[in-house]
Amino acid sequence: MPTLETTFAGIRCMNPFWLASGPPTNCGEQIMRAFDAGWGGAVWKTIGAQVTNVSSRYSSIDWNGQKIMGLNNIELISDRPPTVNLREMAEVKHRYPKHVVIASLMVESRREAWHEIVQRAEDAGADGLELNFGCPHGMNERGMGSAVGQVPEYCEQIVGWVKEKARTPVIVKLTPNISDIRLPARAAKHAGADALSAINTINSITGIDLETLEPRPNVDGKSSHGGYCGPAVKPIALNMVQQVMSDPLASLPMSGIGGIGSWQDAAEFMLLGAGTVQVCTAVMHYGYRIVEDMGDGLLAWMRRKGYESISDFRGLSLPKMRDWQHLNLNYKVVAQIDEAKCIGCELCYTACWDGAHQCIHLDRTLAAPDTTRTPAMVAAESSRRISTTPIAKLDLNGDGVSGRDVTPLERIPRVEEEHCVGCNLCSLVCPVPECITMQRVDTGLLPQTWAERVEAGDGAGSEGVGKCAGS
């Protein structure tokens, strides 16, 4: 039977699911309810000199009917007195001794201030300390949060101060608002940090009210850039975690953060090296109860894959990430459309013509393949066609509409495999699972990377400057 029990930077964890420092970990009462729901650990909402928060604080982006694809907040660190937070922390640890409580800390950049807060947090029973070098709004204007995380030298200095005092593991929380996240990570490691957590939130403006022209969230008619999180940031977070974990000078035990809300998300962060994961937005959206499926689903997957513990699969995808120059240029896939599954929406067709490489065609019922017929020609032909309402029993054989369950052949697109570059786009837009699959074709060529090609002295001249798909 696989287990979710794990050890992170020396901290024993009943499971790898921690609540990230934020509104769900604002007070002891919340954290105890979260532990009851199944969370293995909680990073207390950042403790530091008491602040005043604004109203309102959050804004979000919905997408096509889905609420909170991305969430933005301009809430600062805890606005409760540190004494209250620490008293409650002691109580939580007393009542839940096996659960992990991490104190997230942020104080002014003075050695004594850090020494003092470390001492107080550890005295309250914290299992570890997370240094908040990431908060991108408000606190950075006071020389804290991301103002520290963005300067590797500051990062290294403060980690050094903390390590002078700390008896528990020190986790440095990294900001993504930086060109190369490895630099502060290296600084933290160099200064003796025990672990890292990434990512904190990303600077953002979620939107503007088109009636009032006021950006969101609205504080008396004005707004301020906030920290972006939620499902939308997961790909950015995965990339940053991978960058750090693939860098020998930076990699440490990693607590993955960023858009995690399901067991699949958690598994992905772990496959890129995370030992625990932290969740905030998904809990803000759906409550603590989501942890049940995170554990249940992850265990089921581990059983299917034959993994006994998290360490069996942690980091297994890291070697599968590499620089572009080391990808095999002679690998080729082409799109294949399963005619039996195709529903005839033709989204792959329009995507390929307008967004890709014009190699999907609507010519199955034409006398001969026609790769020159454009979408405009197809649409024009349809608009000229005269349609009439069918009269039952006169125009139709059956109960109303013929072939409603069978896609007409003329609506099933055809891939011109010779022209297909294997970009994946059609398979991404297709609404039907497993309808468009990318099939490997044998190029008859041995694997060769760009780096190898340059080394061999060919290719550099003819394609010296690569085209960038995104530009």
């Binding site: 005839g344 929406c345 329009t350 005269i386 009439t388 039952a392 029993k393 409603r404 369950d405 896609t407």
Partner: protein, 468 residues
């Protein structure tokens, strides 16, 4: 009576429905609430060359208008609909979407639940009507050409709108006191209330379409119109419902489906008696039977000489009638109507299929169905005889086939180049949306033909005319 643009038309305010009838004819497909409409619109896959659009006779760009609902651009959504179908509001309610757009939806092959296109279209059109804005089109620059349109139903209305958008004067002649033809008087009230049809036509009046009501166009009148207009559009629909041809048919309590439906819609019929028989099994027969139930009849029978598998009503209409409690008598034919002054029975004969496939009543076997009202719905006759009586020169006759006007499908032009036609008088009786599509093509066809005529007449004599 001429109602011109300058007068206040406001047909909507002249709808005379009864509150009681309105209560009994609650909408079959109620309006979508805003959140529901947005959620439903987001479900649309946004197909390319969408089958829902292709199958629509007017080719409404369905994904386009639906995505505009999703984006909150309701004004643009309504304009997208109206650009293809000027009667988008009534079609949203009256169309048999199950066999049109929603029947063609790819979702049938995906998660089995088609997008509610009809209700979404209604949502966009309701929003336009609620805004009080006019149609999002302006009349074209005046060309000086004038067209008379015979019949005020959907075909003529759609044709007139296209003409106005192209700067052609459009005058509609109709025998009834209100415009809309069957759109106003013939669609089941639980689908399209009479007032809603009128509301939509008010917008067309604002576009400069003119109306002559209570004007019967016969051969003489048509000749008069031909002399004073540059082109004519024939959109008079079909004629009366066929007679049963049995004894007792003229008794009180025998009516036809069109009169029955028009009667309750316009407020002259408020209730149905207890026992009603509807003869026929088409969509109109179903509408009449359902109406009888809603008007208080306790026992409604539909009488059809063939079996359920041969009925011409859509399957979903048949289901609707069954759910309403209508009973069906298959393979029977009326052979007599019993009664003294008022009908009290319908004599029916069982039918049998002969060796050659034809139907014949079984000899000697008849039975009596006790009824208080008989509604005949066995199809409409054509109404084109007056065209045959036109004093036309050789070759200028409007060609007919089995009473239907023959047209060029793309332009609506008849064998007489000055005459165009569309709707039921051409297709023998289909849906509102088919009439709109016919009228739209004809409106574009007429404007193009008139432009050609004007060009010809501007050329010096002895030019092209020599070829004419």
């Amino acid at each position: 009576m001429l109602v011109s643009m300058s007068e206040s038309t406001n047909f909507f305010s002249r709808a005379q429905g009864s509150v009681e009838v309105a209560a009994r004819f609650a909408e079959l497909h109620p309006a979508l609430e805003n959140t529901a409409a947005v959620t439903e619109s987001q479900r649309c896959l946004y197909c390319f060359d969408a089958p829902c659009t292709a199958v629509c006779p007017t080719h409404v760009d369905v994904p386009k208008f639906i995505k505009k609902i999703a984006s909150g651009n309701l004004e643009g959504s309504a304009r997208s609909i109206l650009d293809a179908n000027i009667l988008g509001a009534s079609c949203a309610r009256a169309c048999p979407v199950q066999v049109l757009c929603e029947g063609a939806c790819v979702m049938h092959r995906y998660n089995k639940q088609p997008i509610e296109i009809g209700r979404l279209q209604r949502f966009a059109m309701d929003a336009l009507h609620a805004s009080g804005d006019p149609l999002p089109f302006a009349p074209g620059a005046d060309t000086g050409s004038r067209v008379a349109l015979i019949g005020g139903g959907p075909a003529s209305l759609a044709c007139a709108a296209e003409l106005r958008r192209r700067g052609v004067k459009a005058e509609i002649f109709d025998a009834r006191p209100l415009p809309g033809g069957l759109n106003t008087y013939g669609i089941a009230e639980y689908k399209l209330p009479l007032a809603e049809s009128l509301r939509e036509i008010d917008l067309l009046a604002q576009l400069g379409v003119e109306f002559h009501f209570e004007t019967v166009v016969d051969a003489a009148k048509l000749a008069e119109l031909e002399a004073s207009y540059d082109a004519l559009f024939l959109g008079m629909g079909l004629g009366g419902i066929h007679k049963l041809g049995v004894v007792g048919e003229s008794l009180q309590g025998v009516t036809n489906a069109l009169d029955f439906i028009a009667g309750y819609k316009s407020g002259t019929i408020h209730a149905a008696p207890a026992r009603v028989a509807v003869i026929g099994a088409g969509n109109t027969a179903i509408d009449a039977a359902n109406a009888a139930v809603r008007l208080g009849a306790s026992e409604v029978h539909m009488v059809y000489r063939r079996g359920s598998e041969q009925m011409s009503a859509f399957a979903f209409e048949y289901e609707h009638a069954r759910e309403a409690g209508v009973k069906f008598l298959w393979h029977v034919m009326p052979v007599g109507v019993a009664g003294t002054t008022h009908v009290h029975g319908l004599e029916l004969a069982h039918m049998e299929t002969m060796e050659d496939g034809s139907l014949a009543p079984k000899p000697g076997e008849t039975f009596m169905l006790a009824v208080d009202l008989i509604v005949v719905a066995i199809g409409q006759a054509t109404h084109t005889e007056f065209l045959d009586r036109m004093p036309a020169q050789d070759g200028d006759k409007v060609r007919l086939e089995r009473g239907r006007i023959v047209i060029d499908r793309e332009t609506g032009q008849t064998s007489n180049p000055k005459y165009f036609a569309g709707g039921d008088c051409v297709n023998g009786g289909r849906e509102v949306v088919d009439a709109v599509a016919d009228g739209k093509r004809a409106g574009i066809g007429i404007a193009a033909w008139l432009a050609g005529q004007r060009q010809k007449s501007q050329k010096p004599a002895g030019g092209d005319d020599a070829n004419a």
